[in-house]
Symmetry: C5
Subunit: 82 residues, 5 copies
């Protein structure tokens, strides 16, 4: 899973109806020395500024019903890394 | 999901018949400091210049019927990121 | 999907029998400022020098019978990008 | 599979209940000249400092019951590379 | 599929029992100007120094029985690229 930080919300009026009701958030992922931003569906009530665990690929669908067309889902809020 | 910008259409006369009728678009994806172009199937009527959400991997098929051989699909037009 | 250019053929006498009869081609993929070469199965009769669309991941199997162990398949020859 | 080194534990009180009971560890992966950190579920009792084999993608779920929403799982402790 | 060169064996006494009996090899993959090392299961009797074709992702499982938790499998020994 990826370690990221939630930095914003994504608003999209026109979208696949299968995404309706999902909260989509922008998550910043550090990969070595570079940083990239992705969109992840939120499953656990994450907020901006939270450090989160993001599951990617087909497993992101398994958080839901396996039919929701997402490839990244926030599955945990990190308390600490030690 | 990836955040991208639609920059063009792809025309391909010779292709897998399972892709017939799909609108294929070139989408520019920013990854850190570099930019790459991919081809995504359009599911929602995106146009050139739109900022879009692209779902990748097997979830890109789930937007359709799970049999269409695509690995990237435009599933939303971004109104705003905040 | 990825945009690539076919630059060669791959010959492999010893291989998984499930790949027998498949034409395997070397395709150059541009990712930002760097270029990488991958091997893709050809589904549509592509030739060296063709600009092609390559589908990756599990969708590459869906072009065939979903059992062929490939992770990249050439599914279209690009006429133009505009 | 990826070669990594376990460098820590991840604590997350708020998480997808399907992850409950899983030990989540931070694993450092070397990719060429850069290093990135990912979170992997531990299946074999790895400890901090261990050099490990990490399986990624949907195969990370196959280590468990195919429903656990993980995309990286520690499946081996490396004795030696030779 | 990826083009790689086998550079070693991986020994792991403690591992997921579903990996027992599999030969795990270190394969060097060139990606543009950088080189990374991955672990791949060998399906065809590859040896150190061989140039090989590696299939990745869920297709790596399809080489076996679709249950073996691998994400990279050596499926061919390259005779020549031309």
């Amino acid at each position: 899973m990826l370690i990221g930080k939630v930095i914003g919300n994504v608003w999209a009026t026109r979208k696949d109806p299968k995404l309706s009701g999902l909260k989509l958030m922008v998550v910043e992922i550090k990969e070595g020395s570079s940083v990239k931003s992705i969109v992840a569906a939120d499953y656990i009530g994450a907020g901006i500024g939270d450090n989160v665990i993001v599951v990617s690929g087909s497993s992101a669908r398994h958080v839901f019903d396996n039919e929701t067309p997402v490839d990244a889902t926030i599955v945990g809020i990190i308390d600490s890394l030690e």
